[in-house]
Amino acid sequence: MVAFILAISLMAADHYGQLTGSLRSTLLTIINPIEQIAALPKAIYIRATTDFTNINDLQLKNKQLKTELLLLRAKQLQLTNLKLEVKRLEALLGTTGKMTDQSIQIANITFYSNNPLSQFLSINKGSLKGVKSQHTVIDSKGIMGQIINTTPTMSRVLLITDPDHQIPVRVQRTAQRGILRGTGHNTTQLRFIPKSSAVKLGDILESSGLGGIFPAGYPVATITAIQNEGDSPYLDITAEPIAQLYQSHKVLILSESDPSSEMKSTKSDTTGDLDVH
């Protein structure tokens, strides 16, 4: 009876408040080594297959990465100019500066799961590295999700496809706003788009920045199906995430940077993980 009451109390505390946040973090800390043991066979397999990769393939990949790096550096220069231009224009228009610099940390994915109950990732950066709940996680293509729990050395990321996840977005082409909700199994649903809206298949959805949790302007999903059925005033829109939710090995954690911080980059550890502000 006591165990029964404890279970019900835990459910109520977890559902209606954040009272159990530290308890969940403690439990995550306990199961973190178990997750690592469980992921070990796959890690060994990947390590073994990588070690036997043809040297020509590695050289080719190295060349491709160098070219990509060059292009990205050139784009970064353009971006710096554009940022200055925007600041000048904002000053002319008399608006306050809205471009916020993001602090970025690179993390490795240590565990991921796509099951009928939930879709999440575990990453190897935690509260000791300044990671907090609600920080945004992206890969090279778009937003993957947000941090929901942290332990000192790892964090758990709720993916945008999880049914409990919602993110405010806008259609990149028309700026029409809506809410993107996870529906499981690598799909999402765009809600609150009126039937009169001019959305098309292939339209890109980007984060709108409303709500203040996700930064604005990052690609989130591509519209793959539009249905106009029934009496509902809204379209039934399905979208697929742009980020490679289950193929990425490394992710970026975005957080608000300290306004006083200067542009800097520091090598944080021997694994090549990088913190950039």
Binding site: A3, F4, I31, P41, N115
Partner: protein, 167 residues
């Protein structure tokens, strides 16, 4: 098979029990890695049902609470929800474990498949899992896999506890 097992006292095989839970939890975690199919039964729950059926001097309800809370953390569900399901199933088992122990193995396996059906139904009620076309049949077929897994699990756990008790 189970009737002969259990002249062993729980304190004689405490570490065997803890090790069995630990291994079962690791295997459950491995099954969750990547794109996991809902056809596989939770081994931690099967092991819990086995120990609660065979060691009748304890209720195992706090173990059920603890394992359920760990399962909630693992599956990223509301804390206490899996714990409640585990407690309900353990309670059902301790209510009829004296009869359960007298069943032949095949009949025990059928009982366990019913437990797994209750587990899946409660899961469905509590968490509304997303079951697309490829998941619907595996999800509701899980009790059948529990039925197949039980004789093997029963054999191995019985053997390990005997070895541990007599070593």
């Amino acid at each position: 098979m189970s009737t002969k097992s259990f002249h062993i006292h729980l304190s004689q095989v405490r570490w065997t029990i803890i090790t069995a839970y630990f291994i079962a939890f690791i295997l459950d975690t491995m099954m969750l890695l990547g794109y996991s199919t809902p056809i596989l039964p939770p081994l931690t729950l099967l092991v819990l049902l086995y120990w609660s059926a065979n060691f009748i001097d304890r209720t195992h309800l706090f173990t059920a609470l603890l394992l359920g809370v760990l399962a909630d953390t693992l599956y990223q569900t509301t804390l206490g929800a899996h714990a409640l399901i585990y407690i309900i199933l353990t309670f059902l088992m301790i209510r009829h474990r004296l009869r359960f122990r007298t069943y032949p193995l095949w009949q025990q396996a059928f009982s366990i498949s019913l437990y797994m059906l209750v587990y899946q139904s409660l899961n469905y009620l509590f968490f509304s899992p997303v079951l697309d076309n490829s998941d619907f049949v595996p999800y509701w077929s899980m009790p059948a896999i529990g039925l197949i897994a039980w004789p093997f699990l029963s054999y191995f756990l019985g053997k390990f506890s005997h070895t541990a008790a007599h070593s």
